[in-house]
Symmetry: C2
Subunit: 235 residues, 2 copies
């Protein structure tokens, strides 16, 4: 019996990666005088990975890494007004309205009538709070956990804090690396719902063997039928 259904947020409940990729396209155009788009893409990814330990996830980290990449790629020739354009790109991302994925607006309210729901998202606290508020879904979640990273240790302490055994916990998300594999490793349940694009950092080779203990659904609209009868009737 499932006690809590937990959801990832970015690219599971609302679009996110498309926003980053759209901004990245404009960033590549801004640097087109200096190098080809593919090289800029690689340089930015390398900067992001180098800065991840210091910056963590989120739009402000992405903005700072874009600026650093622009200086590096242009060999210091980029003009200040172009740096301001990059800052404005980041601000525009922060202002972007949350756009729910298909089915989410029906599925979450319907599941909330039957199960305790939790949101588990990593990233920038300010960004995620704002997106949750803008989604109109906040009141359907009994618990909201914004964590710096999603690994086995983080899930373990999150379950302990909420008094849930792994066997009573179901995690739903688009990332095998962050939403599925660590939960399965703990003995919990997971549903993988792929998004049409995956950030390179989240891409993972699924190891052979015992790791396949999760379900894969094509879209979140299929989730209610999948969890039918799994939730505690207490709610």
């Amino acid at each position: 019996v499932i006690d809590i259904i937990a959801f990832d947020a970015d690219d599971t409940l609302w679009h996110n990666e498309t926003l980053y990729r759209g901004t990245e396209k404009r960033f590549q155009q801004l640097l087109a005088a200096y190098q080809a788009a593919e090289e800029t893409e690689q340089a930015l990814f390398q900067t992001e990975m180098r800065n991840l330990r210091l910056y963590g996830y989120g739009i402000k980290s992405f903005g700072l890494s874009m600026i650093e990449t622009a200086i590096q790629v242009s060999k210091g020739r980029i003009a200040a007004y172009q740096i301001q354009e990059i800052i404005d790109l980041a601000k525009e991302m922060l202002e972007t309205r949350v756009e729910l994925l298909d089915h989410v607006a029906d599925v979450i309210p319907s599941l909330a009538q039957r199960c305790r729901l939790m949101l588990v998202t990593k990233g920038d606290l300010r960004d995620q709070e704002a997106k949750l508020a803008g989604s109109g879904l906040a009141h359907y979640f009994d618990h909201v956990e914004i964590v710096p990273d999603k690994n086995v240790e983080v899930y373990r302490s999150l379950l302990a804090r909420n008094n849930v055994a792994p066997q009573q916990f179901l995690m739903v998300g688009n990332s095998l690396r962050s939403d599925v594999l660590p939960v399965v490793e703990l003995g919990g349940h997971a549903v993988h719902i792929p998004y049409h694009i995956t950030w390179a950092h989240e891409a993972v080779q699924v190891p052979h063997g015992n790791q396949g203990d999760y379900a894969e659904l094509a879209h979140i609209g299929l989730l209610p039928a999948y969890v039918e009868g799994l939730c505690r009737p207490s709610k």
Copy 2:
């Protein structure tokens, strides 16, 4: 009887404002060719306030606002390598080791033997998690709450979530605006321990009348005597 003693972190447990002001001095020097230090200080504060709604608190927000201010103050003449210097200032802040305030290393372990302790801090999730980990104090806190802001609503939901009545809650911190007044307004207890400098955004005029229902201590070393006998003996 107090059930939980909650502590603010920045400038209550460890130094923070000195780090920001030290960086700001170097930022002013970097822009000395364009304008006087006092004007740069004001311009930066205005940029920070304008960006606060979008960016929230923390070092990455501060870094982005420094870059924007530099472009504005230099009227776009600032060189890319100087922008990189500003990015490096922000990175240096993120790398800075946590420095505890006097008495904290004794007071927190000693209080933890008698009371449930909570940490309530606003700011960037990644920054605050890293500072808590670096402080060596993490395991003394039964609860850690990193919140986007500290107002009456946030404290109300935090108390509800942790099942504590305001009368059983004592908040300790350096900011009247964030740590003391909202808690007192809810009917909770508060101890104000001023830090030697206050960020302009946190400065507040204490209204006359009923708002003085809190204690003021000169330093945190005086806290154990103040709370003596106040905690539930259960722990």
